[in-house]
């Protein structure tokens, strides 16, 4: 039987927000019919956006590559369905920036491209071939950050990975996409886990799930069956941000990722369950990443649920598939309420990182005015990075960017715990962001000066 373990370290800081997972947790994943138009952004991941290799008028087939990776930290993009390219134009992204997007008018055939790579026998393939397949399939971290997966899976020489953590914590309130995936398709997730483990040659494999998801734990346990090697499910106590990479590694292995470092600096890699499932598809069936499970939820949504949507589906289409809305929508959030990005409307389209779409009614939107810090210390207590958000935000308010950098503003993971519990309603995370961007800018300038 599969071992079930407890975390070795207690979480640092953290909060217990209202989860509201009941809205969508019992709704099985639904397939969304291909909408009338798809706008596939080339900036689906962190790093350099892909370069479109099709032009207006071209015919594309499902799974055909329409954007080439632009460099190592980048990922290709594939056509989510068959049809005609209606336009290649600049489009707004969920982050508010602009990037090239390929607009596809589906032909309704949804025909797979004949040039898909063949299925692989992963047990026999070597890791280089597997990594190439992952890279070619355009897989990027599906937890939210969207770091190209092949980069994570190819540690530089001299770094060995001994622990692979599959992240099914889904600590963001409201979101249930990963939960449904584990419950319904545990087998796919488990195959993906084993493929990643093979690539990394990791001795230890841990599947991390929060204890508020017993069904997912049971499903994964069943799928994993009689495991071999050092494999276990780790049941994390429910708290936010348990799903954050550094915090999860700390909870499960007791290792602290050094400041400014990557998980591989402590010989660990964390992959989201969605990513594992996508890797399974790519390797076992040869399907590139053209769709994902996303949660459409919030009180104004008539039938909140989890939807398997093609990349490029607009948010409006997602909401329509869930029965539309009732009442006024005062806030549209791509992602969860803690780290999601607020949108100005529903024109933005689904990408590989869209873990959810949350609509908020006016009664739950707090339009606040912040007051001065009353040094209550709640943010210091809640910060999982052990920063002092209260001091940092006051420094940044006074535009003391150097002082903030000296107090490690760059270590902030923007999880939002501080702002969540601040009784003065201070926009702490926003302060941190501006401090971080200033600090990054200054470092870049310094490096440029050094070179010159």
């Amino acid at each position: 039987m599969t071992q079930i373990l407890k975390p070795v370290r207690k979480a640092l800081g953290g909060i217990h927000p209202a989860y509201h997972k009941e809205l969508a947790r019992d709704s099985a994943v639904r397939e969304l019919t291909v909408p009338k138009s798809l706008r596939v952004s080339m900036a689906q991941h962190l790093g350099a956006p892909a370069k479109a290799n099709v032009k207006k008028g071209d015919a594309v087939l499902r799974g055909q590559k329409i954007g080439d990776a632009a460099g190592f930290i980048s990922s290709p993009v594939h056509a989510p369905t068959s049809g005609k390219v209606a336009d290649v134009a600049e489009d707004i992204t969920a982050a508010g920036t602009r990037a090239q997007a390929v607009v596809i008018e589906p032909d309704g055939q949804d025909q797979w491209s004949p040039s898909l790579p063949p299925a692989m026998k992963w047990e026999e393939a070597d890791s280089a071939a597997l990594i190439t397949r992952v890279a070619e399939s355009g897989i990027a971290g599906m937890g939210g950050a969207g770091f190209p997966t092949h980069v994570k899976l190819s540690p530089p020489k001299g770094k060995t990975i001994d622990t692979l953590i599959i992240n099914g914590a889904e600590c963001e309130p409201f979101l249930t996409a990963d939960f449904r995936l584990m419950v319904e398709q545990a087998g796919r997730v488990w195959t993906g886990c084993r493929i990643i483990r093979k690539i990394l040659n990791a001795r230890t494999l841990r599947v991390a799930i929060e204890d508020n998801k017993p069904e997912a734990i049971a499903a994964m346990e069943k799928a994993m069956g009689n495991t071999e090697g050092d494999t276990a499910i780790v049941v994390l106590p429910t708290s936010y941000p348990q799903g954050a990479e550094k915090q999860q590694i700390f909870a499960i292995t007791g290792r602290e990722v050094p400041s400014g470092g990557l998980p591989m600096d402590v010989s660990a890699v964390v992959e989201n369950v969605g990513t594992a499932a996508a890797i399974c598809d790519a390797v076992v069936h040869g399907y590139p990443l053209v769709e994902r499970v996303t949660t459409v939820t919030g009180k104004p949504v008539v039938q909140p649920g989890n939807i398997r949507a093609r990349l490029g589906t607009s948010f409006a289409d997602l909401v329509a598939a869930c029965g539309g809305t009732r009442g006024v929508v005062a806030k549209v959030i791509a992602g969860g309420p803690m780290m999601g990005l607020a949108q100005f409307g529903m024109e933005v389209c689904t990408t590989k990182t869209t873990s959810g779409l949350l609509l908020v009614p006016p009664s739950d939107v707090s339009v606040f005015e912040s007051s001065p810090c009353i040094s209550c210390g709640r943010c210091v207590d809640a910060c999982p990075m052990r920063l002092m958000p209260c001091d940092l935000s006051q420094m940044l308010e006074a535009e003391d960017y150097l002082g903030a950098e000296a107090m490690n503003v760059l270590d902030c993971i923007e999880c939002g715990c501080c702002a969540y519990c601040c009784p003065a309603h201070r926009p702490l995370v926003q302060h941190m962001r501006s401090g971080k961007s200033r600090a990054m800018l200054r470092r870049k300038q310094q490096q440029a000066e050094k070179k010159a």
């Binding site: 508010g96 409307g345 501006s434």
Partner: protein, 264 residues
């Protein structure tokens, strides 16, 4: 000896003694100093008022010499000292025409509508980072006044969500230019009054939707202006301040269909 003589003798001897101690100490503990330091100190008023921001004239002299501090910070000495310092440091005082900052946008609350309600830090850079800023126009002034706060002489006022520079107060330090996240502020010769008050690189139809005052790239002005003193930069007309525009100015203002060419 009378008391007066005693006092005199004692104090003379003490004075000599103290002087001797210091003289010897100065020899023994001598530190080689940059001779220029003393010379810069000589130029400064030596009132040690601290008005420059350093603790005394000596510190300011050090800052000038080693940290490239600005030369015009001495409030007591004023311009005279600044000029002397410039001469000593071998910096040629620029005789270029005085420049003033100008905000090349007229998208105030009435002209440029918003696309969402922003709730957060009232700072332009921060607002710009939240879903790309709350104005429909992605090039226009956000109106959160970061430039006004950066201005050391309070020459920028916020007028209906739009920054306005008062050229008579501007000292053309360029701090606002660096602060503006949308790079709307330019330093232009003070004598020039005709500007294209738009910085949008978007095409005409998009600009029209975004703002009542905006360059729609009709290129009319480039034809009207003499010697291509206004040229197109993509979809935006830009004034070339090296070339004069005199009598055509009024026609330009009247003819501009986007109403963005105006006399300041």
């Amino acid at each position: 000896m009378g008391p007066l003589t005693t006092a005199l003798v004692v104090f003379t001897l003490t004075g000599i003694g103290c002087g001797a101690i210091l003289a010897i100490a100065a020899r023994v503990f001598a530190v080689e100093e940059d001779p220029r330091l003393a010379e810069i100190c000589a130029i400064l008023p030596n009132g040690n008022c601290g008005g420059c921001g350093w603790a005394g004239c000596g510190e300011y002299a050090k800052a000038i010499l080693f940290d490239k501090a600005e030369l015009n910070l001495c409030t007591v000495g004023g311009t005279e000292t600044a000029q002397k310092l410039a001469k000593y440091m071998g910096v040629t005082v620029e005789v270029a025409e005085k420049k003033a900052a100008i905000v090349l946008c007229r998208g105030n609350a009435g002209n440029a509508p918003r696309r969402f309600l922003y709730n957060g830090v009232a700072d332009c850079a921060a607002a710009n980072a939240v879903d790309g800023g709350d104005k429909i126009c992605r090039y226009g002034c956000l109106g959160y006044g970061s430039c006004a706060r950066a201005c050391p002489v309070n020459a920028i006022s916020m007028d209906g969500n739009l920054a306005m520079v008062h050229p008579e107060l501007c000292i053309s330090c360029g701090k606002c230019v660096k602060t503006c996240p949308r790079k709307l502020i330019k330093l232009v010769p003070e004598s020039r009054h005709l500007h294209v008050f738009c910085s949008s690189l978007d095409k005409g139809p998009i600009v029209k939707k975004a703002c009542k005052v905006g360059c729609i790239a009709c290129t009319l002005c480039t034809k009207l202006a003499p010697d291509s003193a206004i040229a197109m930069n993509g979809a935006l007309a830009v004034v070339d301040y090296a070339k004069p525009i005199t009598k055509e100015a009024e026609t330009l203002v009247q003819k501009c269909p986007g109403h963005c060419i105006q006399q300041a």
